[in-house]
């Protein structure tokens, strides 16, 4: 095989084939996928995220949350995603049309977060969990994020309304309080916005749940 042109053509053709098959074809099939409007309720799904939550997605990306948390629910009977309560139905392509970048993830060092907004909507739980996961989930290997919070002396008017209720070993020094920074607030808005449970024709919710 000493014929250069044949080698060149083979090299170009092989990669071109998978580019057509795995990049161009998916783009043709899914690239223009839009929102779905329910004919009965006129509900539109999925909705774009609000500004705060969208800012929070940027922190999720920058801090590399995706390396330990997936955002995809596998179908019933394949793994235990639904049995674990990570979603009421599998996720489908339409769930992700607003995501830039799409952060499906490939590793579950921590639990799936596709529907964390449904499972856990309590602000103070999220703040404590981000400040130090040991407060809410003892034994977790998730890193604490103290840099998303400000520890400051309590002002003359008393503790701030948004100060974290910390106890025991996690409490700050006497006369100090821990408050979430803007980034922490945005990140929690993002986490609370994570819900992929619209009733779609390609991924219907079970009857009793859909109502």
């Amino acid at each position: 095989m000493s014929y250069g042109p044949l080698l060149f053509l083979g090299i170009l053709f092989t990669l071109a084939s998978s580019w057509v098959g795995l990049v161009l074809m998916p783009q043709r099939q899914l690239g223009a996928l839009g929102q779905h409007t329910d004919t009965n309720t006129a509900a539109i799904y999925p909705q774009a995220r609000g500004g705060e939550a969208q800012q929070g997605a940027e922190h999720y990306r920058a801090l590399g949350c995706v390396y330990c948390h997936t955002q995809q629910v596998r179908p019933e009977g394949y793994g235990a995603d639904i049995a674990r309560g990570w979603g009421r139905r599998r996720t489908v392509s339409r769930d992700y049309i607003h995501d830039k970048p799409v952060m499906l993830g490939t590793m579950r060092t921590g639990p799936d977060l596709t529907n964390i907004g449904e499972r856990q909507s309590d602000y103070s739980w999220h703040y404590k969990h981000l400040y130090n996961p040991q407060i809410t989930s003892a034994g977790s290997v998730m890193p604490p994020y103290p840099f998303l919070f400000e520890t400051r002396p309590i002002g003359p008017t008393g503790p701030s309304t948004n100060a974290l209720a910390l106890e025991g070993a996690f409490a700050p020094a006497a006369g100090h309080e821990v408050v979430p920074t803007l980034r922490a607030r945005q990140l929690v808005e993002y986490l609370r916005s994570l819900k992929s449970s619209g009733d779609l024709p390609e991924a219907p919710l079970k009857k009793e749940e859909a109502q």
Binding site: L22, P26, G31, P144
Partner: protein, 497 residues
């Protein structure tokens, strides 16, 4: 500049009784010398990135079982430090070692001294500037969040220029070749340098510059990320194995036809594998199925290459004891087979149901990138460096520390994490097991992983010291011992003490 003129000059200088063998050796020495500076640039900068990457790896590994470690430093949070580790070792070390080895192999196999060294030097400079900016960007929180493509958009065009320059240089060298016969290594090298800029450019445009919508991003992402290994590192690693095994043991490759079959089946099937990273994911089933089929078809190139290499080695395994090159290369070749077989298994839906999303996949990635590719690069460097510098490796002990440190380290890593990852997956698939219990189950194995990382770090430091020592010798005046005819005693040459 061209090789024919060079050969003529050589014959003119050394006329008369001049055997073909002497001529061949002189020619090789000339080619090796021409590669010295550019190849050294790639190897030295690659090795520095390896040391940085090793440090980041250790920090990331410790953080995963001791989350309070260095927790106050935002730039060193796990999600960032792990990403910096991947990018330093993949783009900083592996890619630069690959380019260094590819340049040298291309010159040797085309039988031409290195042409246009300017292109190679500029490529190296751009590359290191690009990686430095990219790593800095990730540390500053500018990661794109797309696996294997985390470097921000202000760094990647610089890298693209560099890959394109390497492709251009390779084509020039190929066109100027003095040896018309193409050896199998050249097919792989040519394919890799043409495939990669295309892959990289496409992924950048479709994911970062003008992102496609929704899960199509995931399709492009895994088409790219799987092909980084499949169409960039694997061909260059195989090119090196195909060159060094026959070279070191002094016998031709077992079968030419198996080589042809192995190359074309790899070219046909490997690039269709990517979607098996999305098994169970929110994609149409046809995409995932097509990649599972292609992944199973990978048995053809993998077994073909394994049989070909093994049949070449048969009867020569004793040489492993004396040649560090052969030891690293054969270790890498065996790992390639194992990693590929594990890859085929992992692509199957039934296996993926358990192993996907666990440390099993992490172990698999290290079996491919490290036990196969990095080991082959180490082996190649052990062969190439003495030839381009004209100096022997200063310390055999350091070579042994390097080999045994990284070999024991990576075997421990892969075995422990593959097993623990599989069990982790079984526990996750049992909804009666609490998630935190799954997390707690993995911790002892993650601690063993840190220990294995330390072993590999020791190996890397040994290699670094030996390499540095070799460079010092290269720059020091050559002191050939002179035997005195008067005393019969050995004295140093005048340039020494």
């Amino acid at each position: 500049m061209s090789s024919t003129t060079a050969s003529k000059t050589l014959q003119a200088i050394l006329p008369g009784d001049f055997s073909n063998e002497d001529f061949r050796r002189a020619k090789l020495a000339e080619i090796d010398a021409s590669c010295r500076t550019p190849v050294l640039f790639f190897f030295v900068s690659g090795l520095l990135w390896l040391l940085a990457g090793t440090l980041f790896a250790l920090v990331a590994s410790i953080k995963l079982h001791t989350p309070g470690f260095l927790a106050g430093w935002e730039s060193l949070t796990f999600g960032i430090v792990r990403t910096v580790h991947l990018n330093t070792v993949v783009y900083g070390f592996c890619s630069q070692a690959a380019v260094g080895v590819a340049i040298w192999l291309m010159c040797r196999l085309c039988r031409v001294p290195l042409v246009a060294p300017g292109i190679v030097t500029v490529a190296n400079l751009f590359y290191n500037v690009g990686v430095t900016i990219g790593i800095g960007g990730i540390l500053a929180g500018d990661s794109t969040g797309i696996e294997w493509l985390e470097m921000p958009r202000y760094a990647t065009p610089i890298l693209f220029v560099s890959y394109a320059l390497i492709a251009v240089w390779t084509i020039i060298t190929f066109r100027l070749r003095a040896e018309r016969h193409l050896y199998v290594s050249q097919w792989y090298l040519l394919a890799a340098v043409l495939w990669f800029p295309w892959l990289y450019g496409t992924a950048q445009v479709m994911l970062i510059i003008e992102p496609v919508r929704g899960v199509v991003q995931a399709a492009v992402n895994w088409w790219f990320a799987h092909n980084v290994l499949g169409l960039w590192f694997t061909p260059i690693g195989l090119a090196a194995i195909y060159y060094f095994i026959p070279k070191v043991i002094g016998r031709p490759i077992h079968s030419y036809y198996l080589s042809v079959l192995g190359f074309w089946s790899l070219a046909l099937f490997y690039n269709w594998n990517g979607m098996h990273h999305l098994v169970g994911g929110p994609m149409p089933a046809w995409m995932i199925t097509i990649s599972i089929v292609a992944s199973v078809m990978m048995l053809i190139p993998v077994l073909t290459v394994a049989i070909n290499h093994h049949s070449t080695m048969i009867g020569h395994f004793g040489k492993l004891r004396h040649s560090p090159t052969l030891r690293f290369i054969v270790f890498g070749a065996v790992s390639y087979t194992l990693a590929s077989l594990q890859g085929v298994l992992s692509a199957l839906r039934s296996f993926s149901e358990v192993a996907h999303f666990t440390h099993h996949t992490v172990a698999h990635a290290h079996l491919g990138m490290y036990a196969f590719f990095a080991m082959v690069m180490f082996g190649s460097m052990y062969y190439i460096l003495p030839r381009i510098t004209g100096r022997e490796w200063p310390s055999n002990a350091l070579i042994s520390i390097h080999f045994w440190g990284v070999a024991i380290g990576i075997v421990l890593y892969v075995v422990v994490l593959s097993g623990a990852g599989f069990q982790q997956g079984r526990m996750m698939n049992d909804p009666t097991v609490k998630f935190l219990d799954v997390v707690k189950f993995t911790i002892p194995y993650l601690q063993i992983r840190t220990a294995s990382g330390l072993l590999m770090a020791v190996g890397h430091v040994a290699f670094f010291v030996n390499f540095g020592w070799l460079l010092v010798r290269m720059f020091a005046p050559y002191r050939k011992p002179v035997v005195s005819i008067l005393a019969g005693a050995e004295i140093a040459s005048p340039s020494g003490k």
